[in-house]
């Protein structure tokens, strides 16, 4: 991957991320976040995580942000007034961000693989194809995946599906339950107390 592309994507991500924080208008913040997430999705793609990148765009930049915008519009939220902005909060936030960045940055270099270049460590699909020939390999029986691998292509979505359904079926179902609970919770939270309203009206 060419380095300028990475820097461009990183700049988009961070720059719009900064805009999210700086923009006074919540709509601008939301739109900046969309751009930020899109840049992030692109970064995922540069890391050969195509499915995750897609989901990031679909779920985050798409659904979630639409939800945000919807709520902003629904509540008709105006720009934040300037006068209330407290200096201490701003300074505190900046200091925290600076210290945390420094700390994490200095720490990031200490990982074993930190200095490994991305281009020096390409995906080795033929190796995977060879490994899958072993009877005990989890991919051995996955005919579609093996066909793709044999053809030298990365079956990213299929591999992701295989991992989720083969190795984390229970977790997946729990996720489903969680979403159900979340849905019910949202309904309960946003439901107006009709009885109360009526008594008030009467």
């Amino acid at each position: 991957m060419p380095a300028p592309l990475f820097y461009l994507l990183a700049f988009i991500t961070l720059g719009f991320g900064l805009l999210v924080v700086l923009a006074r208008n919540p709509v601008a913040s939301a739109l900046s976040l969309v751009m930020c997430f899109s840049g992030l999705a692109a970064l995922f793609v540069t890391l050969d995580a195509y499915l995750i990148g897609t989901i990031q765009v679909l779920v985050y930049a798409g659904a979630v942000m639409v939800l945000f915008l919807f709520i902003i519009m629904l509540l008709d939220i105006k720009e934040e007034e300037k006068k209330g902005q407290r200096l201490t909060a701003v300074v505190g936030g900046m200091i925290l961000a600076a210290v945390l960045t420094l700390q994490l940055t200095s720490m990031a270099g200490s990982f074993p693989l930190a200095k490994t270049k991305l281009d020096d460590k390409p995906l080795d699909i033929s190796a995977a194809s060879t490994a899958a020939k072993d009877k005990n390999h989890p991919l051995h029986s996955m005919q579609m995946i093996r066909k793709d691998l044999d053809a030298g292509k990365l079956p990213d979505t299929a591999l992701m599906g295989q991992t989720l359904f083969d190795q984390y079926p229970l977790h997946l179902q729990m996720m489903g339950l969680l979403l159900l609970v979340g849905t019910v919770g949202v309904v309960v939270l946003s439901r107006r107390d009709t009885a109360k309203e009526e008594s008030k009206g009467a």
Binding site: A89, G92, G93, L96, V99, L100, Q103, L104, M107, S110
Partner: protein
């Protein structure tokens, strides 16, 4: 005859009765009266049997219940059955039984009868405990128990503020005496070590003070204390006092310690037997029901002080100074109380002061080396004073709870039986010749004549006053015309109340004579007092006649008191003086306590921690701002700290 069983029955049956009534009074209701009465009858039978067939050798001792067994102090609950104990036991159970019987009628209209009889049983238990006590610690335990039951009975009508106050007063005044008693017991205990050690000349002369003796003895080896001297080392038993207690001060025993021990023991008696200056509780105790006054505050409990002094005669005799103090305290009490009695109008209070006066006699005789005379007077006095109190109760009952003698009058026709018995009791108390009081009083006066002329004078004056105020009491109450509503409609008491009166009247006469007196006499006669008996007899008959004549002359046919001596009527203002002293001390104490309170409790203990807690709380509160951003900041800072700590 099984003496141990008898002793156990005498001690535990009243306790059983008291506990039964306490626990089951809801269930028993009226029956609790008969539970108590039954236990009193059985106790009386036991003590009569003891009186008729005393243990051989006149004394026996035994163990009832293990209690304390420490190195240097072995104090198991035991019993001692000698002439003194058996005589006293007879008095206690006999009068106790009569009072029980009398109370069934007297307390008929009281709703709290189970409580009354329960407390009465508790008193019987405590009193038999005192009588049977074989050593000081056991006696002290029961000493406190009689105090408790006396408190309960004085305060029986606790809804009356006077009764509640009187109960408190009695209890607190006794506390003072009991404190001294405790000191006395401790001193006796310490000195008894000296007594046992002084047999061994090697250790005696090396050491000067008994404290040191005690200390070295304890320090040498604790086992030595228990093994040496067979069973008792620190001996507090009455039966061995005579041999182990130091006879008089010597080089190894300072005189002040002997005096302290004697006066401490005496202080217990001062409290319980209401001697000056702790006499103030007894007249107030008359707020209790009259049968209680008869049993506890005339015949038995107040006499326990004298009983105890006679038991501990060895201890007090060791200090001549203490003996003088005791004799004079008794004499002064006798005189003062008699003077106060002259001006009282409440029939029970007259008798109460008379009791004080007679107790003074007994104590005086103990101080005059004539304990047996004191005990004899105790016995005779118990009979006629109980008779007088129960008679007064019958009079009060007859006059519909009127106690002022000036509102009575002319009762001799309306209540003839009560009059006759009351008159017998009065004559016995006045010391009419050939009545029991005459003999016992004469013995005391005889002892006084031999020891000290001053006390003889006091005794004679007191006898005159006794004769005078009792004549006044009888004349005003029973003769003349009815002066009050109650007296107009007076009616004779029921038979249940009259029977005890008659029995007591019989004993008031008989107990001075031959076999009865011989059975009751506690100790062997002190030896002939030599001549002077004639003089004393003449004197006592003289003052009896003089007092009676003076009383008749002054009070015959009078409707109100011709004498008015505020000093006597107000009891020498002793109560007021006490109140003042207490007030002064209380104010000072309150001031100090307030200061302490402000500085320590309020300041150091309350304000300072409060201030610290407030400061800390306020500081901590400001952290809890409720601001989401604040929490976010702290969260971030915590994250940084955590990463720092992990990568350090």
């Amino acid at each position: 005859m099984n003496y141990e069983l008898t002793a156990k029955v005498l001690l535990l049956l009243p306790l059983f009765s008291a506990l039964t009534i306490l626990l089951l009074h809801k269930l028993l209701r009226e029956a609790s009266v008969y539970v108590s009465l039954g236990s009193a009858i059985i106790c009386l039978i036991c003590s009569v049997r003891l009186l008729l067939s005393p243990p051989s050798g006149d004394s026996m001792e035994g163990m009832l219940l293990p209690f304390l067994n420490l190195p240097g102090l072995k104090a198991d609950f035991g019993y001692i059955l000698d002439k003194q104990a058996i005589g006293m036991m007879f008095i206690v159970t006999f009068i106790g039984f009569l009072v029980h019987l009398y109370s069934t009628a007297y307390m008929k209209e009281d709703d709290a009868r189970p409580r009354f009889f329960g407390a009465l049983s508790l008193f019987m238990f405590s009193m038999t405990g005192i009588v049977l006590s074989s050593h000081f610690v056991m006696m002290f335990v029961f000493w406190e128990l009689v105090g408790l039951s006396s408190y309960l009975l004085i305060g029986h009508w606790f809804k009356k503020p006077e009764a509640a106050d009187a109960a408190n007063k009695a209890f607190m005044t006794n506390r003072i005496g009991d404190f001294g008693f405790m000191i006395g017991i401790l001193c006796v205990w310490a000195l008894s070590f000296v007594g046992t050690i002084s047999d061994k000349p090697t250790t005696t002369h090396a050491l000067a003070a008994p404290e040191q003796l005690l200390a070295t003895k304890m320090a040498n080896s604790p086992t030595a204390v228990t093994t040496e001297g067979a069973d008792y080392t620190g001996d507090i038993r009455f039966s061995t006092l005579a041999t182990t207690y130091p006879k008089s001060s010597s080089s190894s025993i300072p005189g002040w310690l002997l005096t302290l021990a004697a006066l401490g023991i005496f202080m217990g008696a001062v409290g319980k037997s209401a001697q000056v200056p702790l006499h103030v509780w007894l007249p107030d105790a008359m707020e209790g029901p009259t049968p209680v006054s008869a049993l506890i505050h005339a015949a038995t409990m107040v006499a326990a002080g004298v009983y105890m002094l006679v038991r501990a005669q060895v201890v007090i005799a060791a200090s001549p100074l203490a003996m003088d103090v005791i004799a004079w305290t008794g004499g002064i009490t006798a005189l003062l109380a008699a003077l106060m009695a002259v001006q009282q109008n409440d029939i029970k209070r007259i008798l109460a002061y008379s009791t004080l006066s007679q107790l003074g006699y007994m104590v005086m005789s103990v101080g005059l080396h004539a304990g047996e005379a004191g005990m004899f007077h105790l016995y005779t006095h118990a009979f006629f004073k109980a008779l007088l109190f129960l008679g007064a109760g019958a009079v009060i009952y007859a006059c519909h709870h009127e106690q002022d003698i000036w509102k009575m009058g002319g009762l001799k026709d309306k209540t003839p039986m009560t009059f006759v018995t009351f008159a017998i009791g009065t004559l016995a108390l006045m010391g009419m010749p050939f009545m029991s009081g005459f003999f016992s009083k004469e013995e005391i006066l005889l002892a006084a004549k031999h020891e000290c002329w001053g006390l003889l004078t006091i005794g004679v004056i007191t006898a005159f006053l006794t004769s005078f105020y009792m004549t006044r009491c009888v004349v005003v109450t029973f003769f003349g015309k009815a002066r009050g509503e109650g007296a107009n409609h007076a009616h004779e008491a029921p038979m249940v109340m009259l029977v005890p009166l008659m029995l007591l009247a019989a004993f008031s006469i008989l107990s001075g004579y031959g076999p009865v007196a011989e059975k009751l006499k506690a100790l062997k006669p002190h030896g002939p007092h030599g001549d002077g008996a004639g003089l004393v007899m003449g004197l006592s008959i003289g003052v009896f006649v003089l007092g009676a004549l003076a009383g008749l002359k002054l009070y015959w046919g009078k409707d109100k008191d011709p004498l008015n001596i505020p000093l006597f009527a107000n009891r020498f203002y002793i109560d007021q003086i006490y109140a003042m002293i207490v007030k002064i001390f209380q104010d000072r104490l309150a001031w100090i306590v307030t200061a302490m309170d402000t500085i320590f409790a309020d300041g150091l203990a309350a304000r300072l921690p409060t201030a610290v807690a407030c400061r800390v709380g306020r500081t901590a509160r400001s952290l809890q701002s409720g601001q989401l951003q604040g929490y976010g900041f702290v969260f971030g800072a915590g994250l940084i700290l955590a990463i720092y700590l992990m990568t350090r």
